[in-house]
Symmetry: C2
Subunit: 411 residues, 2 copies
Amino acid sequence: MLQSTLFTKTRKEAPKDEVSKNAQLLIRGGFIHKEMAGVYTLLPLGLRVVNKISHIIREEMDGVGGNEVYMTTLQDPDAWEKTGRWNDDVVDDWFKTSLKGGGALGLGFTHEEPLTKLLKNHINSYKDLPVFPYQIQTKFRNELRAKSGIMRGREFLMKDLYSFTASEEETDAFHEKIKPAYMRIFSRVGIGDRTFMTISSGGSFSKYSTEFQTLSDAGEDTILISEDRKVAINKSDYSDELIKDFGFEGIAFSEEKSIEVGDIYKLGTKYSEAIGLMYKGPDGKEHPVNMGSYGIGVGRLMGTIVESLSDEKGIVWPESIAPFRVHLISLGKNEESTMLYENLQKAGVEVLFDNREVGVGEKLADADLLGIPWRIVVGEKSLMAGGVEMKERNSEESSIVKIDAVLSKLT
Amino acid sequence: MLQSTLFTKTRKEAPKDEVSKNAQLLIRGGFIHKEMAGVYTLLPLGLRVVNKISHIIREEMDGVGGNEVYMTTLQDPDAWEKTGRWNDDVVDDWFKTSLKGGGALGLGFTHEEPLTKLLKNHINSYKDLPVFPYQIQTKFRNELRAKSGIMRGREFLMKDLYSFTASEEETDAFHEKIKPAYMRIFSRVGIGDRTFMTISSGGSFSKYSTEFQTLSDAGEDTILISEDRKVAINKSDYSDELIKDFGFEGIAFSEEKSIEVGDIYKLGTKYSEAIGLMYKGPDGKEHPVNMGSYGIGVGRLMGTIVESLSDEKGIVWPESIAPFRVHLISLGKNEESTMLYENLQKAGVEVLFDNREVGVGEKLADADLLGIPWRIVVGEKSLMAGGVEMKERNSEESSIVKIDAVLSKLT
C-alpha cells in the first residue's frame, strides 16, 4: 500500500486523557481512534493487526473442532431471565435498550444464554455431541470507569468458544486439547515466552479454572510464578488449600504483574438446566448438556502485545501480526524504490511504501512508531553504497543489501 | 468439513411466524437462527456465505481506493447533535442506551457523523484528499415491524463506503469509478443479470441519486425499466421533470418489483460543515470537505440471492459465494468416498462430506435444501456404474464420472 493513500496520520502526542501506553502508542500511530473512554474505532492499520490476530485464533479454534458463528448484539431477556442474569443486581454492567413497540433488550456482554437456547434446535441425542461453536465479535460492558486503553473496554472484541459435551469427563478431555491450542496462539502472536497458564478460582461451577496471564507492568493482576516458571497461580486465589490440592508444597514463588489474556471456565450444567438443553443418552434418558467457556480478548491481546513489545520509539510488531511486513521508505524521488515496491508486491510481500514528500527525520520516526518488522530505506546514500539499507525494527544494526538480494533476505 | 461435525441440523418446516422465503429457506437449511423479528444469528453455513460476499465486496472497494475501518457501535451524541440527527423526531429508529455514570448513547445506524469527526485528526490540506474509508459491520435500526426476514433487519450487516473529496466534481468522478465496481459485485455474487442501476430522488443533498435494484417478486420497491433494459427509474420518483432531465422522452417503460441492494448518495458539505471537517485549498483558504455515501446491505444481499436463486427444493448458491463448492455424499459406508474427500481437500476444493448415517432420501433432500453447486454421490450403484454420480444443483442431469476424473471436471 502507498502510505500516501493511507488516510491516517501519525501524531507526536497522544490525547492528554489517555493514560495507558497501549492506547497512547496505538493512537499516535493511527491504529485506533478513541470515540470515548473504553470505546475505540479500528483504523486501517489497527484493523489489519486485529484481522491477523483473529486469523491465527480461527486456525487454532478450527483445529480443535470449532465451528464459527456470529451471534447477535441485541439480546431478548427470555433466556437470560431463566438463568437469573437479566437482573441488574446479578449482572451490573449490562447496556440495556428497548424496542420501539415495547420490550427491553440488552446488548450481549457474553453469549452463553442465546447459544444454549439456539442449540435446543440442533441437539437431541448423545450422537449430536460434542459441539464447539465459537465467535469472534464485539461485546459490550457498561463499565463505570475505563482507563486501560483497549485492555478493558466498554465495547471490545472477544473470541469466545463454548463446549457442549455429554459429561464433565468430556469437558475435561476438551480442556486438554484447547490448553495447548491457547498456548500456540500466544506463541504465534509473539508473547508465548511471557504468557503462563495460571491456576485461579473456579467461581460457582468448579473449584479451579485456568487463566492465561502475560507478564506486564501494565497488568491489573498479580501472579505467583515458580522459579522454574512451570507453575503459576493467580495471587488473589492463593490458599493453603490450593497448594495442597496441586501438591505445590515447598515450591518458591515470585510475584509478577500480569494481564489476563485468556481464560477457561467450566460451566457445568447451570445454563443447560435453566434453559432446557437436554440430550437423550445411550441409556434412553434425558440428561443436561455439560458446558465450558473459553475466552480470549482479541483487542486486549493487541493491547498486551503493544505493552510488551514496544520501546521508547514506538511499537515493535511481531511479523505474524504486523500490519505490513516491510516498510519501504524512499528518501527523495528515485526509480529504484518504485521498482522495488512493485517487485515486492508481485512476490506477495505485504509492503507499506512511504512515498510521501516529507523529511527524512519524520519518515524514520514514523517507521519506528508504526513498528513494521523490516525497514528498507532507499536513498541517494544507500544507492551510492550499492543498494538499499535494510534494518529490522527490533535491531539497531542495518546493512546495505543489493536490490536484487532484498527478496531472498526476506524469505 | 465433515457434515457430522457441523452442529446445525436442517428442518422440514420453518418457524410459523416467518413469512419471508429468504428466512424460511435459510432457517430450514441451518444458515441462520432467528433471535427475534429482524435479528438473526449467523450459523456456520450462513457465516461462510456472508464471509464470501464480504470478501468480494472488499476486493472491489479496495480496487477503487477504499481503506477499511471498523467503527464503534456505541455512539456519543456530540457529533450527531451538531448535524441534528440525535433528535428522535428527525431519526425515528435509534436504539438508545445510557452509560452507568450518566449520559445517553446511541447504537450506530450509520456512521457519517463519527467518521467525519475522526477525520478532523487526519485531514488538513487538499493534499490529504481524497480518502475513501469503508466498513463492513453490523448496524442497528429500531424498526417498528420487521417482517422481511434478513432483508430489513433491526440488526443487520452493511458495507458503507464514504468518500471525502475536495469538490463536487471529484465526488462525481468517484461515482463513475464506483458504479462499475458495484455492478461487478452484483455480477460476481450471481445477480448481475437482474440488477439495474436505477435513478431515484436525491434527498436533501442533490436532485438525483443512484440505487441498485434487483428484480424480485419479494421486492418492496417498484422500478420502471426500459424495453432495452438499459435505463431504470424508481417508480416512486418518476416525474415528467426526471424524464426531461435525462432525455427519456418517448421511451416505453415496464413495471417490475425489485429489492434495493445498494445505493449511492451525494452528501455535499452538510456533515463536514456541521462538524467542522475543513481542508486548506491551494488557494490558502479553508473549505468544507465534499462527501458521498455508498451502501450495500450485505445481509440483504444474501437474502436477495436466496429469493432470486432458489427453487421449490431449496437454495441454489452461485459458486462464488456457496458455503462449499462440493457436497460429497456417501450412500452407505465406502472407502471411495473417504478417499475422494481427502483428495478434494488436498486439492484445495471446499467440500462438505455427508458421512452421516441417515437415509438416502434425507441426504438428497438436504443437499437440495443447502444448495451447494456440485453434488457428488458415491454409492454401490454409482461404483457399479464405474464411478461417482455428479450433478450440478441448477441442473436436472447427472452423469457418472470416474473417481480419477472428478477433480478435472471441477477445475
